[in-house]
């Protein structure tokens, strides 16, 4: 079983990459893609917490 800390760390890294993308890029489509990355990082955190509660 994977420790929850790894999953949360991965989620934080992906979220930060998404934040950097939103702030750095000027292309609207790429900004939307970065927002999708952030949403997926949040989903990963939810799944990690669900696994811990299970």
């Amino acid at each position: 079983v994977i420790p929850i800390g790894w999953t949360i760390a991965l989620s934080a890294i992906v979220f930060c990459i998404g934040v950097a993308g939103v702030l750095v890029r000027r292309n609207a489509l790429v900004i939307f893609m970065s927002i999708e990355l952030m949403l997926n990082a949040a989903n990963l955190a939810f799944v990690a917490f669900a696994q811990q509660l299970h």
Partner: protein, 174 residues
């Protein structure tokens, strides 16, 4: 075996996410985003969330990415529109904010936030999580589920009506 797979998928996810942000061409970064979503689906499978993993493949890597690529190719938004001296400053600020957020997350994790022991243990769900989600969705949450489907139907019909109306007005004008 599972931790090695997790590290592999995680490294692939971080690398492809970085490529999404760093690559100049919008189509290439969209294709890297597909790879990122697929590796995220692999991580969901490793976390024993099979339903979420399959939905990730179907909805994100399928529907949403087709939408992105269609918009990119339809509008021909291939390149960044960046010129001027303030772009470098803006880039620096962006990476600095991201690094600060990562530092903040690291500090929170070092303090054991949300990673400590669980107080209450939920009852075990038999028969995989797809079966559990289906059982709950069609019994206890049936009404919100139907309301959501009506909302999506109204949004779809509204989008069709709005775009048809605009095209009709343009034709009348010309």
């Amino acid at each position: 075996m599972v931790p090695y797979l997790f590290v592999g998928f995680g490294a692939l996810l971080v690398a492809t996410a970085l490529m999404v942000v760093l690559h100049k061409n919008a189509v290439t970064s969209a294709l890297f985003l597909v790879l990122a979503f697929c590796s995220l689906a692999g991580i969901y499978l490793l976390l024993q969330a099979e339903f979420i993993g399959m939905v990730q493949i179907i909805v994100y890597a399928g529907a949403i990415m087709v939408l992105f690529l269609f918009v990119i190719m339809y509008l021909n938004l291939q390149h960044d529109v960046e010129h001027g001296a303030h772009i470098a400053l803006r880039r620096g600020i962006g990476w600095m904010v991201a690094a600060l957020m990562l530092l903040f997350a690291t500090l929170l994790m070092r303090r054991g936030w949300a990673t400590g022991p669980v107080s209450a243990v939920l009852p075990e769900q038999a028969g995989g999580n797809a079966a559990a989600i289906g059982r709950v969705l069609y019994s206890r949450f049936l009404f919100p589920f139907e309301v959501t489907s009506m909302l999506l139907l109204v949004a779809m019909v509204g989008a069709i009506v709005l775009t048809k109306g605009r095209r009709g007005a343009e034709e009348e004008r010309s």
